[in-house]
């Protein structure tokens, strides 16, 4: 287990964590402000990936395709919010869970009908080769791009939420919705905008991760659960919590998958280690979430006072 391998996996973990943050940020805002559990958030991520793949093919340019997929997905998201999701704000959590679960099925099938079960999306040729980060440590330049994009969006998000007026409205809504409404904020428009923004973030994540994880129907469900785990750990409604939680989950998931089987092999038979190792890595994340729920249920950085 060389240092290089550890560094490499850490970077992979950071990369995955940052993309997870894009999903978690949108999810935590929707949950924190609108008090709505939206299981279809993963479907927006999937839509972003499919739209990006289509637009990349249509325009012939990776950058252009990805960039265009962002407003396209945001539009889809806002349409969804105005038509169906708006009626769920007043409903109880069970109804929200079931209705958005139904939406997952619907959107999955619609995507399958329009595009088929999967679509090709590859990293741009210019980034196909590795970059020498350290002597003896090549690292995929595309993954470096992802890290760069993720950090840029995180900084942008911080700027918007902490320094702009609309960010202040969002934070006010997250910590006390009734008060924000009483102070005259047009809450319906704010909700739609927040939702569209969340969808845009999903699109970035979906488009960027597409070349690595494959663009296919059902890609949203697995990452959705991780996103929920992140916001529970980080604290519902808290962007800072989403960032810390995502990096934590991304790292634990990636490093766990990479190293737990190897560590186990020191103690038990290779066959058994190979079988139970990946399972343990996955289970570890849920154990952390379960622990947080029991000992600090409001999360690491609770948004609500």
């Amino acid at each position: 287990m060389s240092l290089i391998l550890i560094l490499e996996q850490s970077l992979n973990g950071l990369q995955f964590g940052l993309m997870l943050f894009l999903l978690a940020a949108g999810l935590t805002l929707v949950f924190g402000i609108m008090d709505m559990i939206n299981l279809a958030h993963g479907s927006l991520y999937m839509m972003g990936a499919f739209l990006a793949a289509t637009l990349v093919q249509a325009t012939g340019s990776f950058a252009l395709g990805v960039l265009l997929s962002i407003p396209a997905t945001a539009a889809v998201g806002m349409l969804l919010e105005v038509s169906v999701l708006r009626t769920l704000y007043a409903r109880d959590h069970l109804s929200q869970v079931l209705a958005t679960f139904a939406l997952i099925l619907i959107i999955n099938e619609l995507v399958r009908m329009i595009w088929g079960s999967d679509m090709p999306l590859s990293a741009p040729a210019a980034l196909a080769g590795p970059v020498q980060l350290l002597p003896g440590m090549p690292y995929s330049s595309y993954r470096l791009l992802i890290i760069g994009v993720g950090l840029a969006v995180a900084v942008l998000l911080y700027f918007v939420v902490a320094k702009t007026r609309i960010g202040m409205l969002v934070r006010a809504g997250a910590s006390n919705r009734e008060m924000a409404m009483a102070m005259g904020v047009d809450i319906r428009r704010l909700f739609t905008l927040v939702f569209g923004f969340g969808a845009a973030l999903c699109a970035i994540a979906g488009a960027m991760l597409g070349p690595i994880l494959a663009v296919q129907v059902g890609m949203g469900e697995n990452i959705l659960i991780l996103a929920f785990v992140v916001i529970v750990i980080g604290g519902i409604g808290s962007i800072r919590g989403a960032l810390v939680g995502s990096i934590l989950v991304g790292m634990v998931d990636t490093m766990g998958r990479a190293f737990i089987p190897a560590i186990l092999r020191e103690f038990i038979s290779p066959a058994f280690a190979g079988a139970i190792g990946p399972a343990l890595a996955s289970i570890l994340i849920y154990l952390i979430m379960a622990g947080v729920l029991v000992w600090r249920p409001q999360g690491l950085f609770p948004a609500r006072g």
């Binding site: 949950f31 559990i37 169906v84 009626t87 959590h93 069970l94 109804s95 869970v97 079931l98 209705a99 679960f101 139904a102 939406l103 997952i104 099925l105 619907i106 999955n108 099938e109 619609l110 399958r112 009908m113 469900e221 659960i225 929920f228 785990v229 529970v232 519902i236 066959a271 079988a275 139970i276 990946p278 399972a279 343990l280 996955s282 289970i283 849920y286 154990l287 979430m289 379960a290 729920l293 029991v294 249920p297």
Partner: protein
């Protein structure tokens, strides 16, 4: 009237396979068995979700655990249903005890998330069980046996016999649940759902009652799982995926939350709809979109959405409204 109707339905259910045999449509018997088994699974969820108000998003884990326990027994040579099925219930009950003891200390959305998380953990565990099929699942060479040995007609390999056994078990379970919800325990459970803090304030240790209900529901779910494994002669980790938990929840709400037959109605409704869309061509739909049957999940999703948005009381709710004019 209220007692006569279920009895009539039961008689119809008993006559059903014989009728199917007569018109040479034995396939429907296996389909009916499947619906009844899911009816049992949904009923077990209805106990904690409908009557108890506990939104457990990981119930498929208990169904799946029961399925795996029963299957492992058969694979290891222990083919008697008298051992395999109670064991499946015990395994699921223990699992429910462990998961419930931790999860029930949380409320609201956190409870939903933590039950989901635990179910996912069990799911990954079954994927890792390479000895029992891992990701691809486990195919069973035979169904469990009732082992009487005397009368060949009690052989569960016969689909019609299996149907009757499933029907008997479901009927017994529904009877047990009907007694339970009207007994002291059932009233406490429903009162906890109504106003848990006040229940604590009049002297009930609410966590204890919720946990017991959770374990009972887990055990019943495990039994459904064992039957499901027998029905298909197959188990795979997919049975524990959270989307399966979602389907069970939809069945409960479709059938009628907190209604005795809600689970059964929901199973009939959802599985019937799936079957209808997948296997029976509807002319005008086909004209609209020729391949629609490959996308039956779209129809299922739309139906689910419609129920949640416009008929949250479910099928049983329609009856209730009729009764009250």
């Amino acid at each position: 009237m209220r007692r006569v109707l279920p009895l009539c339905v039961l008689l119809l259910a008993i006559a059903f396979p014989l009728a199917m045999q007569a018109i040479d449509q034995a396939y429907y018997v296996t389909m009916a068995s499947r619906i009844l088994i899911y009816g049992l699974a949904a009923t077990s969820l209805n106990l904690i979700l409908g009557y108890g108000g506990m939104i457990s998003f990981g119930h498929a884990a208990f169904v799946g655990a029961g399925a795996y326990a029963a299957s492992v027994m058969i694979v290891e040579g222990m083919t008697s249903a008298w051992i395999g099925w109670p064991l499946a219930m015990a395994v699921s009950a223990l699992l429910a005890l462990a998961i419930g003891a931790i999860s029930l200390r949380t409320r609201g959305v956190y409870f939903i998330m933590i039950t989901l998380a635990f179910a996912q953990m069990i799911y990954y565990l079954t994927v890792s069980m390479k000895a029992y099929g891992g990701d691809e699942g486990l195919t069973l060479t035979q169904r469990a046996t009732l082992g009487f040995g005397l009368d060949p007609h009690l052989d569960l390999r016969d689909d019609i016999t299996f149907y009757y056994v499933v029907l008997a078990i479901l009927t017994a379970a529904l009877f047990f649940v009907s007694r339970l919800v009207n007994a002291r325990f059932g009233r406490v459970l429903q009162a906890i759902r109504e106003n848990e803090p006040r229940m604590e304030a009049i002297g009930y240790p609410t966590l204890r009652y919720k946990l017991i209900a959770f374990v009972l529901a887990g055990a019943l779910g495990g039994l459904a799982g064992a039957l499901l494994a027998g029905q298909n002669n197959y188990v795979n980790p997919g049975m524990l995926h959270w989307t399966e938990s979602g389907k069970l929840m939809i069945m409960v709400i479709l059938g009628g939350v907190g209604h005795l037959y809600g689970g059964v109605f929901g199973a009939i409704g959802l599985l019937g709809l799936e079957e209808l869309l997948a296997n029976h061509k509807i002319a005008w739909l086909a004209a609209l979109y020729p391949n629609y049957q490959q996308h039956s999940l779209l129809g299922v999703g739309l139906a689910m959405l419609a129920v949640v948005l416009y008929a949250p009381q479910g099928i049983a709710g329609i009856f209730r409204r009729k009764n009250h004019g």
